[in-house]
């Protein structure tokens, strides 16, 4: 039990609840609920976007990866930053120019609304739910250790808070919570990294030397190949980060909270600054954890393993740096991180159901405002309850791996469909559906047959599909099907869709054009 952690935690929860009450009074329209009234500026949105990405998976999971494998963690650190370059250079401005609240708006711009939206809503949910679970599982384990609460109670606590934020505060509350947490996390990360460097007299070489000395694998951590040794895995991880980031529904949704494409561009530029900076701290933090945590009896259980598992390495390190006070601060920040990210995910999942499925598919675009908002709030509640139950069942899975599976689906379903609809004039509804569902089915089947589910969950001896990450195959399946079913589509609808591409192209390049009178 750590008093600072508990005080900090209650302070954070108190502030976020005040924000939620304040935001709920300002959340009346659909634009308020889904997009914070399109009133967020580029700088704040950049922080919020960075906050969405700097999740427990990045902070705790990637630190843990560096802690246990050394240089292999670089693959995640670089990939996590590069995904944002893809968003800046290919997606952000166009997304804002073409869409309203969700990325499905863009896919459905000229393609058949109902089937295409159904597919991209499924894609959003298939990303948001596993990602949510990853965060919840991490939260449960973390709170269990820090506050001495049972895992189940911790999960329920997170679930209830996130449901409250989203149901009542919508995107406005979610954005502010994300912003505050991003600032806290950047400060916390900076202090840990600074602390590590100052104990090393600011000599990076000394840090690495000390890490090699302390790590059980010795100098192997200064070379790649401790964990990722085959090219298929390396490429799949790369693809999942580089293109999966641009397919995360809760991140894409943030581009609709700004007033125009210019602010969308500024948002990503700021986000890249914050994320790149944070990612470069992660490596130092991971190395620091190797030096000061690995062989520190204070953090080892009786059998010599790390208390709470490798995901706790960053947290333990904070105690070395700043004692119980700072440990409390970092624990509260880590918890705030999880809360903020799960809220964003829940909102994007709710929008997929209420905006895409209910308003545009079931009601054909003529949904009543209040009913649509009610549906999104009910969905939020349902998602909250069901993820709490699932998180309790999934206790103990590595959070980075669960998050990567979500990234894999984002890269092989959402991103290719959105990208092709933006850039390829011959992309048709039939191609979009074939590609999207092929990507989804391939990802799901390969994850099921892969080591994560087949061996760990089902308990079989050997996985049918040997790779943990299905991205390479699933992306190829999507692109091949999208291509073939588009070029072979000779229907009247396909001809019309190709014809409408130019108008969409113009709007994506320069924004909505006013017609000459």
């Amino acid at each position: 039990m750590n008093i600072t952690a508990i005080v900090m935690f209650f302070l954070f929860v108190g502030i976020t609840l005040v924000i939620t009450v304040w935001a709920s009074k300002r959340t009346k329209t659909r634009s308020d609920f889904y997009a914070a009234g399109k009133s967020i500026g580029g700088f704040q949105n950049g922080l919020a976007i960075a906050g969405d990405f700097m999740s427990a998976a990045t902070f705790l999971g990637v630190t843990a990866l560096v802690y246990s494998t050394g240089m292999d963690g670089m693959l995640f650190i670089i990939g996590g930053t590069l995904g944002w370059a893809v968003i800046l250079l290919l997606v952000a401005e166009r997304l804002r120019n073409l869409g309203q609240y969700t990325f499905s708006d863009v896919v459905a711009f000229r393609l058949a609304r109902k089937p295409v939206r159904t597919m991209s809503a499924i894609g959003s949910l298939a990303v948001a739910i596993p990602y949510l679970l990853a965060q919840m599982v991490g939260a449960g384990a973390l709170i269990q250790i820090l506050f001495g609460l049972p895992y189940e109670v911790a999960v329920v606590l997170v679930g209830v808070l996130m449901t409250l934020y989203v149901m009542f505060g919508g995107m406005l509350a979610t954005t502010w919570i994300q912003t505050i947490k991003a600032v806290l996390l950047l400060i916390g990360g900076t202090i840990i990294a600074f602390g590590v460097m100052s104990m090393m007299n600011f000599d990076f070489g000394d840090l690495l030397t000390a890490a090699v000395k302390e790590h059980p694998k010795g100098s192997a951590i200064m070379a790649p190949g401790v964990m990722f040794t085959d090219i298929i895995t390396v490429i799949s991880i790369g693809l999942a980060f580089v293109f999966g980031t641009a397919g995360l529904p809760h991140v894409l949704m943030r581009f609709f909270t700004v007033p125009n494409a210019r602010q969308a561009r500024r948002s990503v530029a700021y986000a890249i600054g914050f994320i790149g900076y944070f990612q470069s701290l992660i490596f130092i933090i991971g190395m620091g954890a190797i030096v000061y945590v690995t062989n520190n009896p204070e953090f080892l259980s009786a059998d010599g393993s790390l208390l709470g598992g490798s995901n706790m390495s960053a947290i333990h390190l904070s105690k070395v740096i700043g004692g119980d006070l700072f440990l409390g601060f970092i624990s509260a920040v880590a918890f705030a991180t999880i809360l903020a990210v799960v809220s964003g995910l829940t909102l994007s999942a709710a929008a997929a159901v209420s905006h895409d499925l209910y308003a545009n598919v079931i009601k054909d675009g003529n949904a009543d405002r209040d009913t649509e908002l009610r549906i999104s709030r009910i969905t939020t509640l349902v998602i909250g309850l069901s993820t709490m139950a699932l998180a309790i069942l999934l206790e103990g899975e590595n959070v980075a791996v669960l998050a990567l599976i979500a990234l894999a689906i984002a890269a092989s379903v959402n991103f290719p469909v959105m990208f092709l609809s933006m850039y390829w004039s011959k992309f048709t509804t039939r191609g979009a559906l074939a590609g999207g569902y092929a990507g989804l089915a391939t990802s799901l089947i390969l994850v099921m047959l892969g080591p994560t589910v087949w061996v760990t969950l089902f308990g079989y001896e050997e996985a049918v599909f040997p790779y943990r990450y299905p991205t390479l195959f699933a992306m190829l399946a999507n692109l091949l099907c999208a291509w073939w079913f588009s070029v072979s589509d000779k229907s009247e609808r396909a001809r019309r869709e190709a014809e409408e591409f130019d108008a969409q192209w113009i709007q994506s390049e320069i924004g909505p054009v006013q017609e000459k009178v």
Binding site: M71, L89, L90, P224, G238, A269, A503
Partner: protein, 102 residues
Amino acid sequence: MLSQTNQEIMTNEDFLKLVTVRRRVSWSFLTVLLGLYLAFGLLSVYAPGILAQPVFSGGVVPVGIVMGYAILAMTFILTLIYVWLANSFFEPLERKISGGAR
């Protein structure tokens, strides 16, 4: 059918220039970054020795870590260049096109 305004834009020289230059910038930046990442991935599987080698003989910091940080720095620099280009070149063109079409 395209509206009159859109037809004008599709043949507008400024629009064609905007689209071509922006496409060239985006894709060349991406090629550089993804190329570097791919190189890192390929080296880490097929030539881990190169990444493990110290940058300076006798030093301890290996090539792979320097390369990782260099890619992060590169991403940041290209982002700044892109934003600068967008503010000083793409956006005035966009305004000119939609103003000219109106």
